[in-house]
Each structure stands twice: as structure tokens, then as C-alpha cells.
């Protein structure tokens, strides 16, 4: 079940928002010990894909995302973003790439506490060459898009967790990047709010943006088109969501549970509803 870069070869087309990873290693040096967080990850993500990255805690998901987001560099291996090798780019060029091509969403939101929602969303525009006077208008549009048109002048402390993450999503969207990277965007949110955030990503995905989401939750991953699973720094499985064995197991378990709950409610030991009808990405409740 080792995921190979050729698992989705037909989709790979060079251009904006495409990712090509080859033999990516990441070594952390902590004192005399070295931690091998990634041990040779190869992965292709095409423009317009919606990918979920899953794996146990410590499997290297965040490390991978940081490399994808050009926030961090691999110790070894090749990363090609939108057809360009990132190891040849300097700090300023990488900043430019993060500004124009990537929208990053963090688990901990990372909003500026002293700035309003609008100012937070405007931040990437401050570092882009786009016209200054249009900035606040674009930021307003982005906030309206995530449903926060009425919270523009609120500070993060005056917003709920879900609203904060929406602000962060608006910030990721404001520069219209080809790719949105989200590292456990719903990790700090309840299931209902998580659902709202993930629906936001689905909306964005419909516009043709590439989306990569790290998550621990199968039901969140269920919204993606493809699930990549990591273990100890290597890709152990890479399948379309509908045919991912672990995800199918999960759906079956859920369906069984739901059926048991339903029958227990009407009449103990009643009929069991089959789970096969459940579609991947469908609204699976917890």
C-alpha cells in the first residue's frame, strides 16, 4: 500500500498550483539527537485537486505542509511548485511565492490580536505589488465571501473560534492564490463549525483552486477528493477518497453505528440499514 507518485499520473499538468515532490527528507537536529521527520516523500498534486493529508500525530504532516507552503526547506529532495524548483529561490523570492501563490491556514489561526478582521485580511496585500487603494475593497470582498461582512471591524478577541478561522481563510484567499494549504484548520473547532469551515474550502475548490488540508478526522477528509496517508515520515497510502480502504472502513462503522442508534430508538434489535449507499464526501455526521 505504499503510495507512489504515479498513483494519479493523468492529473499532473505543469502550471500554476501544481506540486511535485521527489524524495523529500527532513531532518531536525535537537542537540545531539536528530529526528527524521520525513524520509523520502514523493507526491504530485495537480491544479484544482482537493487533497486531505492524514496520519498519526508525529507522522510528519505539519513538516510536509510547511515545506509545501515554502515556510520551511527540505533537508534533501526536490520540490517543484508551479513548475519552478523552490530550492533555487532566495528568501525574498520565496516570500513572493508565499504572497502570490499560496494561502496558508493555521490550526491556531495566527491573527494579529491588535488588528481588526479587515486589517488582518489586508495583511498579504500590504506585501504584494497590487494597488494599495484597492486593498481594503478586496479585503472586504474576501470577508464577505467567508460570511463575515458584518464583522469587519471586530478584533480577533471579539470573534468566536470559527469566525477567527474564517478571517484566516479570508486572509488566505485575498490574494487569489492558486493553492490553499491548511494545517488542521478545524483542529481547534467543534464539529459544526468544522463543517462550516470545510464547506468554505469546498466553495473555494469549486473556483478551481488547489486545496491541501491536513486533518485527523475522517469525516473532514471525506470532503476531499483524495486522501494521502503518512506514517513515520513516508507516504503509506494515496487513494481517491471513494476507494480509500481506511475511509471505507470508517464509513461502514459510522453507518453501522447510525443504524444501531436508529433501531435502538424505534425498537430494540430492529433492522440494520446498509452503509453502502453512503457517498464519499457526503454529509457524515459524527
Amino acid at each position: 500500500m505504499t503510495g507512489t507518485p504515479t498513483s494519479t499520473p493523468a492529473r499532473v499538468v505543469p502550471g500554476k498550483g501544481t506540486i511535485r515532490l521527489r524524495g523529500i527528507h527532513k531532518l531536525y537536529q535537537v542537540g545531539s539527537e536528530s529526528v527524521h521527520a520525513l524520509r523520502g516523500v514523493s507526491l504530485d498534486i495537480a491544479r484544482g485537486e482537493f487533497v486531505a493529508i492524514m496520519g498519526a500525530s508525529g507522522s510528519g504532516k505539519s513538516t510536509l505542509m510547511n515545506i509545501l507552503g515554502c515556510l520551511d526547506q527540505p533537508s534533501k529532495g526536490m520540490y517543484e511548485l508551479s513548475g519552478r524548483r523552490t530550492d533555487r529561490l532566495g528568501a525574498a523570492a520565496l516570500a513572493q511565492v508565499r504572497n502570490k501563490e499560496i494561502g496558508f491556514v493555521f490550526q491556531t489561526f495566527e491573527l494579529l490580536a491588535r488588528s481588526t478582521a479587515l486589517e488582518n485580511v489586508q495583511l498579504p496585500l500590504a506585501y504584494s505589488a497590487r494597488l494599495f487603494w484597492g486593498a481594503s475593497k478586496r479585503a472586504k470582498l474576501a470577508l464577505e465571501r467567508v460570511g463575515l461582512g458584518d464583522r469587519m471591524h471586530h478584533r480577533p478577541s471579539q470573534l468566536s473560534g470559527g469566525q477567527r478561522q474564517r478571517v484566516a481563510v479570508a486572509r488566505a484567499l485575498v490574494n487569489e492564490p492558486a493553492m490553499i494549504l491548511a494545517d488542521e484548520p478545524t483542529g481547534n473547532l467543534d464539529s459544526k463549525t468544522s463543517e462550516e469551515i470545510i464547506n468554505l474550502f469546498k466553495d473555494v475548490h469549486k473556483q478551481g483552486q488547489t486545496i491541501v488540508v491536513v486533518t485527523h478526522e475522517e469525516d473532514i477528509a471525506g470532503h476531499a477528493e483524495r486522501i494521502v496517508r503518512l506514517r513515520d515520515g513516508i507516504v503509506v497510502s494515496d487513494h481517491p477518497t471513494a476507494s480509500d480502504p481506511m475511509h471505507r472502513d470508517y464509513l461502514e462503522r459510522m453507518a453501522m453505528q447510525a443504524a444501531r442508534a436508529a433501531s435502538g430508538e424505534s425498537e430494540r434489535g430492529g433492522t440494520v440499514a446498509p452503509a453502502a449507499g453512503q457517498r464519499a464526501g457526503g454529509g457524515v455526521g459524527p
Binding site: 510547511n66 516570500a95 495583511l123 498579504p124 504584494s128 494599495f132
Partner: protein
């Protein structure tokens, strides 16, 4: 265009940062405030002193030359001053031969009793002069006429007095035509000269005295001696001070038969060289003051650097986020540099205002000096330039530190 926008944004950001931490900003810039305040105060003080002294020297007459006999050090105690004092013949010789001066007069003091009718005053200094005295001293003759050459040549018993003498001797407001008895000799008052306050910086200055002038020939006749107290001359031009000194020295040395290593038995002082000396001294004073100020600005700069380092480490996560959304290292560098500079400039402005306020207080306290006490524009310019420079220089290290932060390391910072 993009640079202007960036600067505008970073300045706005810096102001927001600083207003969020007003008290800390004030404390941090204390060193700058004090340094700049010191620039303003020392600049104003040295300028005021210079203005005052130069004004005094100027009213004294920048073209004046003093000459007097002097017993050189190795001869002290062996010869008396009267043996080396200037003689009338020497002064006459200088008058006819020195090219660098256009007027000269002996000053021949006779102390005695002056009487006008019933009123008499003892111990009045009567000064014997030539008519050139008017040219050199430029004292206004308010009533009557000045001395003329004939008064001296014919040894006339005429005198000039000042306003103070009119008051002291209880004379009429216009005393010309009246007579005075000086040491029992009868003198006709021909004119009144304005009373002039002696420059405060000279001994016996700052006060007025009773003055009586007579032709030098008449004074010699009253109390005959060969030497005069000193001589007063006027340079043809202020730029000839050194030349005149050399010429007069040469003439006097020749006439006194001094040669080779013999020390001169006279002294020559020009007001112009005093002015030049003072200017040199005040330049040194200003230099020293600026040096001290530079030290205090340096100390202020270290404070700025410290607070900027604190600011960088407090805002590490923020820096990480800014980098994550696309801030280039140069932009982060600029942001912190602008913040340090704005901080210093605010300190500088507060310092200028504080210093200016203290100058205003000084003006109120010293009304006599008020016309010289004004903040020189160059001190404000120096203050602004220096505080900006301190901001840039001492903000550089923290700004580089911020710019070099790795985005992911900064984001993970606690």
C-alpha cells in the same frame, strides 16, 4: 511608487506600535531626549556667549590697538616700568611711519583735583590726548566741539568732559564756555562727550566714571614726565591686525635698539586678535559640548537598541506570520528600522521642545541676555539628523535580526 507606499505603511505601523506602548517609548527615548535637549542648550548657550562677547568686543572697537611698556620676565625687579614705558617721541614716530595704522594717540594720565565754582572733586583722572582720540574712540560729542590739532599744538587750556562729570560737578546742562580748575589751572570747557559704559568683561567695566580730557601737551605741562601710560591706535583694516603688530614691533624694537634674542620691552594688543582668540576658544567649547552630547546620544542609542531587541523577540510570532504571508526580509528590516527611527525622532522632537522651553525660561530669568538667547537653527537640524542617525544605526542590529528570522521558526516561537 511602491517604495513610497511601503514607507507610508511602515511609518503608520511604527506609529501604531509606539502608541500602543507610550510609556515604554517615552522611557526608552529619555536618553535621546536628554541628548537632544543638551544639543539645544549648549548650542544656544555657546552662541549666546559668543554673541555677547563679540558684541562687547565690537562696541569696544575691533580696529583698536593697545600699546604699553612692559618689563620682560627676566628683567623683573631690575628695572622699573617707567624706564620701558612708551615715550611721546616713540608715539610720534609711529604716527609718522607706521603704515598699518591710520590714527594714534597717547594716553597720559594726571590725577588731581577738579573744581567748578564751589564744587570740587579729588582724585579725578584727567587724560591727556591727541585729537586722533576722537577718530579711535568714536565717542559722540553731544555739545560743543571735539579737540582739534591746534589745541594740542598750542598747548591750549581746553578740556572735554562727559555727562557724568556735569552731574558730579553740578554744572549747567550746556557747560561749554564755562571754566574748570584742574589742579588750580584754569581750563575752558569746549565740549561734552557721551558717557560710555565700559564693557562688562574688562576690569572696572560695567560702570561709568567721571572723565576729563585735556590736550596731551597741556597735561605734560601740568605734571612733566617723559613717558605716557599707554597708547591707543586704530588699524587701517581689521584684517591687518597681525601685520600691524609685526610692523609696530619692528619699529619699536629698532628705536629701542633691541636686537636678536632681546625680549621686547613693550606689549601690543589688538581687539581683533582677541576676537580671533575668542572665536577659536568658542569653537573648542562648542566642539567639546558636541562631544558630550554625542556620548549621551550614544547612551540613548544603546537604550533604543535594547528596546528594539525586546520588541523583536516579543513580536517573533508576528514577524513569522508577516513572513508567512509574503513579507520579504527587506520589508521586515525596513519596518523595524523605521520603528527605531520614528522612536528616536519622537525623542528628538520632545528634546527640541524641552530644550526650547528651557531656553525660554532662561530668557525670562536673564533679561540682559535675552537678545542673545535664541535657539540656533543648526542645533535643531543637528538634533533631527543625529536622532534619525541614532535610530538607523542602533536599530540596524535588531532589524537585521528580525529580517533574518526563519518564518517557521518564528511562527513556532512561544
Amino acid at each position: 511608487m511602491i517604495l513610497v507606499r511601503l514607507l507610508f505603511q511602515t511609518v503608520a505601523l511604527a506609529l501604531v506600535q509606539l502608541t500602543g506602548n507610550k510609556f515604554r517609548a517615552l522611557l526608552t527615548t529619555l536618553g535621546i531626549i536628554i541628548g537632544v535637549g543638551a544639543v539645544i542648550l549648549t548650542g544656544t548657550a555657546t552662541q549666546a556667549l559668543k554673541g555677547y562677547v563679540l558684541h562687547q568686543l565690537d562696541t569696544f572697537g575691533p580696529r583698536k590697538v593697545f600699546m604699553t611698556g612692559d618689563v620682560p620676565r627676566p628683567m623683573r625687579g631690575r628695572i622699573r616700568w617707567s624706564e620701558v614705558a612708551l615715550k611721546l617721541t616713540e608715539i610720534e614716530y609711529l604716527k609718522n611711519n607706521a603704515q598699518t595704522i591710520d590714527a594714534i594717540t597717547p594716553m597720559y594720565f594726571v590725577t588731581g583735583q577738579v573744581r567748578a565754582g564751589e564744587v570740587s572733586r579729588d582724585g579725578v583722572t584727567v587724560t591727556g590726548i591727541w585729537s586722533d582720540w576722537h577718530e579711535i574712540e568714536k565717542r559722540v560729542v553731544t555739545i560743543g566741539r571735539p579737540f582739534i590739532k591746534v589745541d594740542v599744538d598750542e598747548m591750549r587750556n581746553v578740556c572735554l568732559i562727559n555727562d557724568k562729570a556735569i552731574a558730579e560737578l553740578e554744572l549747567r546742562a550746556d557747560p561749554t564756555g564755562d571754566t574748570l580748575l584742574i589742579n588750580n589751572r584754569r581750563f575752558l570747557i569746549v565740549g561734552v562727550v557721551e558717557t560710555k559704559e565700559m564693557a562688562a568683561m574688562f576690569p572696572g567695566g560695567g560702570e561709568t566714571r567721571t572723565e576729563v580730557y585735556v590736550p596731551v601737551s597741556t597735561a605734560v605741562a601740568m605734571r612733566p614726565r617723559l613717558y605716557v601710560d599707554f597708547a591707543l591706535a586704530q588699524l587701517k583694516g581689521t584684517e591687518q591686525a597681525d601685520e600691524a603688530k609685526a610692523e609696530i614691533t619692528a619699529i619699536l624694537r629698532r628705536s629701542r635698539g633691541l636686537s636678536g634674542d632681546d625680549p621686547s620691552t613693550f606689549q601690543i594688543h589688538t581687539v581683533q586678535s582677541a576676537i580671533e582668540q575668542f572665536q577659536a576658544v568658542s569653537g573648542v567649547i562648542t566642539g567639546v559640548a558636541l562631544g558630550l552630547v554625542a556620548v549621551s546620544l550614544l547612551v540613548g542609542g544603546v537604550g533604543i537598541m535594547n528596546i528594539m531587541l525586546v520588541s523583536v523577540s516579543e513580536r517573533t510570532r508576528e514577524i513569522g506570520l508577516r513572513k508567512a504571508v509574503g513579507a520579504r526580509p527587506g520589508v521586515i528590516l525596513l519596518q523595524f528600522l523605521v520603528e527605531a527611527t520614528v522612536l528616536c525622532l519622537i525623542g528628538g522632537v520632545v528634546g527640541v521642545v524641552t530644550g526650547g522651553g528651557m531656553v525660554a525660561l532662561g530668557k525670562a530669568a536673564l533679561p540682559g541676555m535675552s537678545e542673545y538667547l535664541s535657539v540656533p537653527p543648526w542645533t535643531i537640524l543637528v538634533s533631527v539628523v543625529f536622532s534619525a542617525a541614532v535610530g538607523i544605526i542602533f536599530g540596524m542590529f535588531p532589524a537585521i535580526k528580525a529580517a533574518r528570522l526563519d518564518p517557521i521558526v518564528a511562527l513556532r516561537h512561544e
